[in-house]
């Protein structure tokens, strides 16, 4: 439900002229894709831990960097970046 909620918010913000990027677990991707969001980065992380495990600052940062990179690189609605790294504990 949170992912669909963010879908509504992303569409409204984008319609108001502010670019958005959603960073989320891939688990929910099929629920969100029909909402036609502009930019989505998905991780192979467990639900409720979308950016990485607690205290895994390195992974959290790399996901955010990827998301912000998509803000700059996307040229049309539907930009999707799938990050391949599996969930891990903080090194």
């Amino acid at each position: 439900m949170c992912h669909v909620s963010v879908g509504h918010v992303a569409r409204a913000i984008e319609a108001a002229g502010i670019p958005t990027v959603v960073a989320m677990s891939r688990v929910f991707l099929e629920r969100v894709q029909p909402m036609r969001l502009p930019r989505v980065v998905v991780t192979r992380h467990l639900m409720a831990r979308p950016l990485g495990a607690p205290h895994d600052a390195e992974r959290q940062t790399s996901v955010i960097r990827a998301a912000l990179g998509l803000l700059e690189s996307a040229t049309a609605n539907g930009a999707l970046l799938e990050l391949p790294e599996a969930y891990r504990l903080a090194p």
């Binding site: 439900m1 949170c2 992912h3 669909v4 909620s5 963010v6 879908g7 509504h8 918010v9 992303a10 569409r11 409204a12 913000i13 984008e14 319609a15 108001a16 002229g17 502010i18 670019p19 958005t20 990027v21 959603v22 960073a23 989320m24 891939r26 688990v27 099929e30 629920r31 969100v32 894709q33 029909p34 909402m35 036609r36 969001l37 502009p38 467990l46 639900m47 409720a48 831990r49 979308p50 950016l51 990485g52 607690p54 205290h55 600052a57 959290q60 940062t61 955010i64 960097r65 998301a67 912000l68 803000l71 700059e72 049309a76 609605n77 539907g78 599996a86 969930y87 891990r88 504990l89």
Partner: protein, 248 residues
């Protein structure tokens, strides 16, 4: 074991009041459903309710095999991968909302010059600034879980969180997900510390003074039709150039 029931949607539990009928043997369907707002509520495993019985049975069988293997080699990552795989299966298929097209706003300036905002569905707020939820001034996490159905019928409240808030002053109440990880480290879904670090590197111009969070388990139509457009106006007033959105 009973035959597979029609696939129910997650979050249709009764808010934790359902108890097994002690006079009847519990069916496997009732057992696996009890993790989703039932007698065995565990929000990390509420997805079991959305799986057909045979798949849920496979989940438990394989889980125990993997626990056994992990006892011998300590490689817990197979457990995470197992939970992830079944979690993904449980959420397969489209949701309730589908559109033929979607908006796209291009960046109007380089990221390094942009003011970046953060919005999450985590249900975070700052200590001392707890939003009123369902008309209650001091909703506990336990009550939020118990009243999940009420949350799903109510419009959400947007909390504003100063971006320099230290993590010890962050609080979270949300009846829709397993909050253990965000309790241990808010940056798993509300990455204020990571964004402060990245702002210092010059990757983006600046972090907006406040982040935003709401309980994503909420009434969808009031959110879509009224609140989300209002929130977008708030972001425009704050001259935010780009938004990072993180759902849980």
């Amino acid at each position: 074991m009973t035959s597979s029931a029609p696939k129910p949607s997650i979050g249709t539990g009764d808010g934790g009041t359902q108890q097994p009928d002690a006079s009847q043997p519990e069916s496997f369907t009732a057992f696996k459903n009890s993790f989703a707002y039932g007698s065995r509520t565990d929000l990390l495993f509420k997805f079991l309710k959305a799986l057909p019985d045979d798949e849920a049975a496979d989940f438990f069988k394989e889980l125990l095999l993997k626990v056994g293997a992990t006892l011998d080699d300590g490689d817990w990552s197979r457990l995470a991968e197992h939970i992830y795989a079944y979690n993904e299966r449980s959420y397969a298929g489209p949701g309730q909302f589908a559109y033929d097209d979607g908006p796209f706003a291009p960046m109007t300036k380089p990221l390094k010059d942009s003011r970046l905002g953060l919005l999450t569905t985590t249900g975070h707020f700052v200590e001392g600034d707890k939003p009123e939820m369902l008309g209650e001034k001091d909703m506990s996490q336990e009550e939020a879980v118990r009243r999940i159905q009420d949350f799903l019928r109510a419009p959400p409240t947007l909390s504003m969180i100063p971006c320099d808030t230290p993590r010890e002053n962050l609080r979270v109440v949300h009846g829709g997900y397993d909050t253990r990880a965000v309790q241990a480290d808010p940056n798993v879904a509300l990455p204020l510390e990571r964004l402060r670090e990245l702002a210092a590197t010059g990757l983006f111009g600046e972090l907006a003074p406040e982040a935003f969070s709401f309980t994503g388990a909420c009434a969808q139509l009031p959110l879509r039709n009224k609140l989300a457009p209002q929130w977008a106006e708030i972001l425009k007033e704050r001259q935010i150039d780009a938004m990072l959105l993180v759902p849980v």
